[in-house]
């Protein structure tokens, strides 16, 4: 049998990050091909490449047995490819019906009257298939809960009657029942000869559905396996892998705080997978890591602690022993909580301003407030203390490398009077040397008695820095690892892809 779609030896870089290196994938009609890997392994890039939304730098593309130029999104659509996006492609104000047929009208004539009654009956059949048969198709999609929006997104792809369906992590927002339904639909499509590319990090789904599994790690192909796999087989390949993990210096253990009587800087209660609750505590001088895949809930905890969540009051949280709802970032800052958000370019730096202005973008002390100078203190002294390599403090921040920009952002926090840092992906997209520098800066913080809540999708980093790691899955805490080592890696990987979950369930059943 010839594959319907083949990507051969494709590579893709985004700036300095190599998202994919020399990956090949074959997609056959009537098969579910799962792409699995950890965060940043390149799964989504590969999925979007199949749908024509990412153009590879090198490699070749075969469709229906012939080598063809890479598809544009339009060509992909014309060839019968449909894509379900991780970040939905729905227009929130439009009705379900309008969304389902958006861009799929039989005519391109703008003045053509919409065939709403025909669309309505088509709507019914497609929505029936995903279990939304009784929904009011005239209501705008922004009034639906996230799970149902995801189902509408899936129906939108189904309405195009695709030959190849690419699903990019479609189950993140679905409840168990909805997920089961989706699996049923995928089974039917497979029986009808549709080729399905299923990008996921839920290992139990792979074990349940896959006819073929492609395991990715750091943008490279670990293995492409044919046939159904068990959870353990997949986890083994995910964690073990053919590619050795980069060597990390074992942590120079941070100043341990043996005095347990000292009040925790932070305590926040999170539901546990087994139904009980877990209090995530950060003591002075401690680094506590939250590890999980995208959408696991660790970002939400970070946003609650740093005062970004509007419903913070609904979570039981204590700061230095006081029950407090941190409802604004300003309040968080007054309590001594500093936040390093994810996404340096979007949420961190002021790209059009200088290095020193970026460094001094922090609340001023009382003494500084009296001064009119845009910056306070001696930027050169501070910058050299945090080890930034720069020419002139008045140069634009964008003249620095990503790693040095990141150090400036951490320096911004270091110069403030804080007690607790919430760090999201502190070393995302920076090189090894800069990573080590950032880690040293963080150790300096803990040395001063500050606590750190670390949200990182880099497992080696989380292990190297943390005194404790809480693994997260589906908004819940799975397990807690005290003084984690690289030996815990496979167990941690299994936790966050839901393998622990799946096994627990098997035992219950």
């Amino acid at each position: 049998m010839t594959p319907l779609l083949r990507l051969v030896d494709v590579s893709k870089s985004f700036g300095a990050t190599r998202a994919l290196r020399g990956v090949s994938i074959d997609i056959f009609p009537g098969e579910i091909h799962c792409i699995i890997g950890e965060n940043g392994a390149g799964k989504s890039t590969l999925g979007r490449m199949c749908g024509g939304f990412v153009r590879p730098d090198t490699g070749s593309f075969w469709y229906d047995g012939k080598e063809v130029p890479f598809f544009s999104p339009e060509e992909a659509r014309a060839a019968g490819l449909a894509m379900v996006f991780q970040e939905l492609s729905l227009a929130p104000d439009l009705s379900i019906q309008d969304n389902l047929f958006l861009g799929a009208e039989p005519t391109r004539n703008p003045l053509r009257v919409l065939r709403r009654s025909r669309e309505r009956s088509d709507c019914k059949s497609v929505l029936d298939a995903v279990g939304l048969g009784r929904i009011d198709i005239r209501q705008p999609v922004n009034q639906l809960p996230p799970g149902q929006q995801q189902l509408v997104e899936i129906s939108k792809a189904l309405a195009r009657k695709p030959k190849i369906l690419v699903l990019d992590e479609p189950s993140a927002m679905l409840s168990l029942a909805e997920r089961k339904h989706l699996h049923g639909i995928m089974g039917e499509l497979r029986a009808n000869g549709t080729a399905i590319v299923f990008v996921t990090h839920h290992v139990s789904e792979v074990a349940e559905l896959a006819d073929r599994v492609t395991v990715l790690r750091n943008g490279a192909l670990v293995e492409s396996i044919t046939g159904r796999q068990t959870v353990d087989q997949i986890v083994e390949r995910l964690g073990g892998g053919g590619i050795p993990a980069p060597h990390w210096p074992q942590q120079s253990q941070v100043v341990q705080n043996p005095d347990n009587s000292a009040a925790d800087l932070l305590s926040i209660v999170v539901p546990r997978l087994d139904g009980s609750t877990e209090a995530i505590r950060v003591a002075p001088g401690e680094v506590v890591g939250l590890y999980g895949v995208i959408g696991c809930g660790s970002e939400r905890i970070a946003s609650i602690v740093s005062g970004q969540a509007s419903d913070a009051a609904s979570v039981a949280m204590e700061v230095e022993g006081q029950k407090i709802a941190v409802n604004t970032p300003v309040r968080a800052r007054r309590l001594g909580i500093g936040h390093l958000p994810n996404g340096r370019a979007a949420n961190g730096i002021l790209p059009t301003r200088s290095i020193s202005e970026n460094l001094y973008l922090r609340p001023r002390s009382r003494k500084q407030r009296a001064s009119l100078a845009p910056t306070g203190g001696d930027p050169d002294k501070e910058l050299s203390e945090i080890g930034v390599r720069y020419g002139n403090a008045k140069d634009p921040i964008t003249s620095l490398s990503g790693g040095n920009q990141q150090k400036v952002l951490i320096g911004r926090l270091l110069g403030s009077d804080l007690r607790l840092l919430v760090l999201e992906e502190p070393t995302a997209g920076i090189d090894i040397a800069a990573k080590a520098d950032v880690h040293n800066l963080l150790r300096k913080c803990t040395g001063k008695g500050w606590g750190i809540l670390l949200v990182s999708s880099d497992l080696e980093e989380a292990i190297a820095l943390s005194d404790r790691i809480h693994t997260m899955f589906d908004g819940q805490c799975v397990r807690t690892y005290s003084a984690p080592t690289t030996g815990d890696m496979s167990s941690i990987s299994a936790d966050v892809v839901g393998a622990t979950h799946a096994k627990d369930r098997e035992e219950v059943l």
């Binding site: 894509m83 227009a91 439009l94 309008d98 047929f101 958006l102 861009g103 004539n109 009784r134 029942a177």
Partner: protein, 329 residues
Amino acid sequence: MSSQSSINQASPPKVRHLFGHVGYADLMLPLLILLLALVAVMIEPRFLSTNNLLNLLRQLTPLLIFAAAQGIVIMSGGLDLSQSSVLSVAGVVGVLVMPQLGIGGGVCVMIAVGAFCGLLSGFVAAATGASPLIVTLSALSITQAFALILANGVPIYDVPGEYTDLVGFTSLAGIPVMVLIGLAVLACCWVLLRFTVFGRYVYAMGSNYSAALHSGVDVRFYTVLVYVLSGTCAGIGAVVVTAWTSAAQPIAAPNLALQALASVVLGGVALKGGSGGMIHVVFGVVTLGMLSNVLNMIGVSAYFQTLAVGLVILLAVCLDRLRQRSARR
């Protein structure tokens, strides 16, 4: 934290309307309009006379035409600041060619000039991806300059009498032709928005541009179309205004575009795009029009009228924010 909501739940019933979704909050403006009418009748019983109402409609017509177009532009996620000056240049050019091409030719030229200006704005906005605010601001200056240059900076009073009589002062079945033109524009916009592919794409682009792009909508083409529509309406506005004032002013109705913007927002069309309908435009236009009509009757000075209009718009914006916040809960 996981979503365990039942997926087969039927949705709660909603107030529905031929014009789209109309919630309870949308009833605020009609109530305000009724209140204004009541005040007007109490002060001046002749307010409800056919004559006065037709006169009111006539006054509202240019604003209605502009607001209908501006509404569609805003729903698509754009903005058109150049409407007034496009009207001016279209009026000037149309009246200048009227002696050669006749009345029909002149009218066609006015509409064509408007459409062409919109085409240029739309093309620049779509091709460069620049903010429509800047693009139409520059279009405002450029078209204004052409209107001044072509008219030599003075109004052209050389407008054929038959033309001003026909468009400005004739009535068909008791309704002024001018008002009929305004209503026709409104009806066309309504049909476009509610029943055509164009309308669906306008809402989609305004609601989530990248979703529209990912769904295969030719967003650039439709951006151009939206501005062509707006320019065309400015051309139609030129037909009405030149006939009514019996002159082609190089700076005609300078505040009309901003008033149109105000009435669209007042009516409840979200500035970020993607929602609202012609019903909201109508509410906004009628409220704003009646407000100044009633204030005139009471004898409030023009200075205080401007103040009142500003306050009403501010109120509308606050209400809109409250509505959005409660909708998000």
